[in-house]
Amino acid sequence: MLLQDKYRIAVLSAYALVLHGFEAVLPMPVPWLKLGLANIITVVALFLFDFRTAFTVTLIRVILSSMFTGTFLGPSFVLSLGGGAGSTLAAGFFHYSLISISGRPFFGAVGLSLISSFFHNVCQLTLAYFIFIQRIEAILIISPFVLLVGTATGLINGIIADILIRNVRAPLPESDLAGSGNKL
């Protein structure tokens, strides 16, 4: 692994952790409502870099944040890991398999974010069923609501990721390179 790769992963992980932590302190009207802001980083990493980067960043984010909150290897860690790994794998799979079929990215950032959010929720619900609840009715009852909220947050995160990707990819004007701080 190149030093540049490590540096990139470290920076992205830091961003993901900050978003993750920011989300944790936000008051939410419904307990299981999660914005999934860290997904933005996963999507950005998939678009700008590669699957390995996205997956490593997700793992680091999940493990470190659980250590910070003291839930490492606890039940919520298992949910978090399952959701994070599952969603990144699914998003990566769709992104690359469709590129290999059609030769170009089929889904944009919004699509990937939606896929990622969907599989994040599906993985967590499945894990919750096997580990905790074991009542299929209970899972079925909350599933559509969780998926609905996931669709909404997936859209918002996707749009944010899209803006980020565009801005990073856009060739910076010469004047900006000179230092934008001076202008302000």
Binding site: V110, I133, P144
Partner: protein, 128 residues
């Protein structure tokens, strides 16, 4: 704002509307598919410890992993009225008339359902 929406690929939009309609219709499909539950089933450590009719108001207390947890039934709804877990998500969830309240730290599940009591779906009363 409008420019951002326009720039989103068609595939993404189709996916979004597909997921939106699927989850929305899922809400109603599940609501219809599940039997109208009549019982509150409380499980501690994965074992059902108490089944109470949802139609009878009252409170019941259980010993969870973080101390006493109190469940209240009122007007055919149920809530966790008191818990000593750190985040109190179960208490915040408030009144629930269908579905489930899970308190992970306490390992307590408050579940509204007809299963487990032996009463079959669509039964209005039992004689005997």
């Amino acid at each position: 704002m409008l420019r951002i929406f326009r720039a989103v690929p068609l595939a993404d939009k189709v996916l979004f509307f597909f997921m939106l309609t699927a989850s929305l219709s899922g809400i109603f499909v599940v609501r219809e598919a599940l039997p109208q539950a009549a019982d509150v089933i409380v499980e501690v450590d994965g074992r059902p410890v108490r089944t109470a009719p949802l139609s009878v108001d009252g409170t019941m207390a259980f010993n969870g992993d973080c101390g006493e947890i109190q469940v209240e039934i009122k007007n055919s709804r149920v809530r966790v009225s008191e818990a000593h877990c750190p985040n109190k998500l179960c208490v915040q969830q408030g009144w629930v008339s269908r579905g489930v309240i899970v308190c992970l730290p306490n390992n307590v599940v408050v579940f509204i359902g007809g299963r487990g009591t032996g009463t079959k779906k669509g039964l209005d009363a039992v004689t005997g």
